[in-house]
């Protein structure tokens, strides 16, 4: 079995399994906990309106903008760069279509008649570059900023590593770096993605799911009281 066959075969299957089982375990471990009913008389009966906090908290209040601008801008830069690269790069779209056909016998086009849109390679390269630059900036900030340095732990640094690794290996594979065989570069790219998948349920990357629950829970409680969102 070649490295690429390993990365495409058992490594992919196991990492996806760990990702799904681990993420479900962590989410269920939290969501199955009891939640006491609040017996106080609500100020606002339509507490569900507090769910707007999920969207509202995506950008800080004007009063807080000065101190948070760097984190917000860099955060958006690497998240958007990462996600656009992941979902709109032609080989990724082909890969997802392939996986989809393997799982349910068809892809999005077969299912809906619409093809998944893609972005030109040049744009994707730029986005990946922006994402990498922003990730480097947030790492430097984490090391240099006394607040972040104090509160950081292994999870912060390792999660950073597994996030930047697929971007770097992807760019290297795209550029056919140093004339290495493309199969080897592709295998490393796949393995770096699989590392991300394996780590995902155990570290802070899970905020991709819990962010909605945390914001939503706070929104419901605060709206019920009429408190500031």
């Amino acid at each position: 079995m070649t490295l690429l066959e390993f990365a495409r075969g058992p490594a992919l299957q196991w990492s996806v399994t760990v990702f799904i089982v681990g993420a479900l375990w962590r989410l269920l471990g939290v969501f199955l906990l009891r939640s006491r009913k609040d017996l106080s008389e609500p100020r606002n009966r339509a507490a569900w309106k507090g769910l707007r906090l999920i969207a509202l908290r995506s950008w800080p209040r004007r009063e807080f903008l000065g101190g948070t601008a760097f984190g917000e801008v860099m955060g958006y830069a690497f998240h958007l760069g990462f996600l656009l690269t992941l979902f709109f790069y032609v080989p990724h779209v082909l890969f997802f279509a392939d996986v989809s056909r393997g799982l349910i016998g068809t892809d999005l086009q077969g299912l809906t008649g619409f093809a998944w849109p893609t972005l030109p390679n040049g744009v994707i390269t730029l986005l990946a570059g922006i994402s990498i630059a922003a990730l480097v900036a947030v790492l430097v900030h984490r090391i240099v900023n006394p607040i972040k340095r104090l509160i950081s732990n292994f999870d912060d640094y390792f999660s950073w590593f597994v996030t930047i690794a697929p971007l770097l290996t992807g760019l290297v594979a795209f550029a056919h770096f140093a004339g290495w065989p493309y199969e080897r570069l592709l295998a490393w790219h796949l393995l770096s993605v699989e590392l991300l998948l394996v780590w995902f349920p155990f570290g802070k990357l899970m905020h991709a799911f819990t962010i909605f629950a945390a914001r939503g829970a706070t929104g419901l409680i605060f709206e019920r009281r009429g408190a500031s969102l």
Binding site: L39, P146, I147, K204, G216, F222, S228
Partner: protein
């Protein structure tokens, strides 16, 4: 946890080596009772996780260590010391959650990925959890994950109380409240004597212990002992409005140091007293005084402590006054001044009574000059959450108070007004400390002073 408090000095700790940019903190910690150290930790963690529900667990799973919460904290703002980063104040409890309670606790314990929390660590954190957090919740508004950090600090205080690791002053006043009915010595006898004296002195009728009344009024011990004019103001306004009201000697003290100290049993006991007094006289409404945490304790936590919905309505005095003004019942003489309003955190930001005090100010006809920031994001006075009662925190508190001085002076308003006696007390103390020539005013007392008596 009962037993005398002992005060300890710092001991050298292995993990407390000086950091590159963070000076080793000076700290003092207090301990209650004589308990083996391991048992203290166990009690802390058991109590911390006892009430651990889904929401708190979601919060614990969501922090991304972005550090933005520091930017919202007045203690960080004035010191620029990273140890005052709000989420850092929870570090031992985050550690304990991962190790003992989270979905992967088994893995963390088996591989010792998160070390067991030690009593030394909790002792060190006492200062962060009690002296440098007013539970004002400003950090909860900045967190991009939406974590209510203030709620978690309150939960951590439960653990600290159970471990016998709270500041002596908070422990002492909570014990006093539990045993005597008031943290500042406003016992039923003292309260009764004061009411008689105030009624005589101010020629105002103050009904006490009526068997039946539509409205039960309550006071905070700060008002009873330091600002008795607020008691008179309450009586004047109620009489002016023709309300069927009473004070009750079996339930008048709205202050709840059990909530601030993390002593759930005391919190419940003090809350139940008010509820039972209200039920005894068939009150339809309980009016809470100008006290921030009293509002949280009864308005938002009372029913949960009682175990069923409260059979009466609970209002902060400012909400009651706003209702009366809106209904056209509260006739006031114009207060021809420019005023700025200090938002008490528990009433406004976390309590939701954002506009009520402003409606009352409007009824007074003042020119309202808002601070910046204001309402939900207004800065805390620095004395909430029991901090003003904790004298070892004075130096730090005075630093935060400078923010308020600056905010108020920037408005150019002739007088600052608030609707929390604890904030008012913090302002009076800050005024004396800095020899500042600005005095904080009570919204309640201003209303009482401007009643149009002809309408009575």
């Amino acid at each position: 946890m009962t037993g005398p408090t002992t005060t300890r000095k710092p001991e050298p700790l292995d993990f407390d080596q000086p950091r590159v940019s963070i000076p080793k903190p000076e700290y003092r910690f207090d301990m209650q009772g004589e308990v083996p150290e391991a048992e203290r930790v166990e009690r802390a963690m058991k109590s911390f996780v006892k009430d651990f529900g889904r929401t708190a667990a979601i919060y614990m799973e969501s922090c991304i260590h972005c550090g933005m919460c520091a930017e919202a904290c007045h203690f960080y703002e004035v010191t620029q010391d990273p140890k005052y980063t709000p989420i850092w104040k929870l570090e031992p409890f985050k550690q304990a959650y991962k190790r003992e309670y989270g979905p992967f606790a088994l893995v963390y314990r088996a591989l010792n990925l998160k070390p067991k929390v030690t009593v030394e660590r909790l002792q060190q954190w006492q200062q962060l959890i009690y002296d440098s957090c007013t539970v004002c919740g400003r950090c909860s508004l900045i967190c991009p994950m939406g974590i209510d950090i203030a709620a978690l600090v309150s939960q951590a205080r439960h653990g600290m109380y159970a471990a016998g690791l709270i500041p002596h002053e908070l422990w002492a006043v909570t014990e006093r409240a539990r045993l005597e009915g008031s943290p500042l010595g406003a016992t039923p006898k003292v309260f009764k004597d004061r009411l008689e004296w105030l009624a005589d002195d101010h020629e105002v009728e103050i009904p006490v212990d009526k068997g039946n009344a539509d409205v039960l009024c309550t006071m905070s011990s700060i008002e009873i002992m330091k600002y008795p004019d607020s008691v008179v103001a309450t009586a004047r306004i109620m009489n002016h409005l023709g309300v069927d009201w009473t004070f009750r000697l079996d339930g008048y003290e709205a202050t709840n140091f059990g909530l601030l100290a993390g002593n759930s049993a005391a919190q419940k006991q003090l809350t139940r007293k008010l509820i039972e007094a209200a039920v005894s006289c068939g009150a339809k409404t309980v009016i809470l005084p100008e006290c921030g945490h009293a509002y949280t304790a009864l308005r938002w936590m009372g029913a949960n402590m009682y175990g069923e919905p409260l059979p009466f309505k609970v209002q902060h005095i400012a909400e009651f006054l706003a209702d009366q003004a809106r209904a056209g019942k509260l006739k006031l003489k114009k207060l021809d001044k420019s005023v700025t309003f200090h938002d008490p955190c528990q009433v406004v930001r976390r309590g939701g009574a954002i506009e009520a005090p402003r409606e009352v100010l409007k009824a007074l006809g003042v020119e309202l000059r808002e601070m910046y920031p204001t309402k939900g994001t207004n800065w805390c006075c620095g004395g909430g959450g029991g901090v003003v009662a904790n004298h070892r925190a004075d130096e730090l508190r005075y630093k935060t108070f400078k923010i308020k001085m600056e905010q108020i002076e920037d408005t150019g308003a002739e007088m600052p007004v608030t609707t929390c006696a604890n904030c008012r007390q913090t302002f009076d103390d800050g005024q004396a400390h800095f020899k500042w020539d600005v005095r904080m005013h009570s919204l309640l007392e201003l209303v009482a002073d401007h009643l149009v008596e002809d309408d009575a």
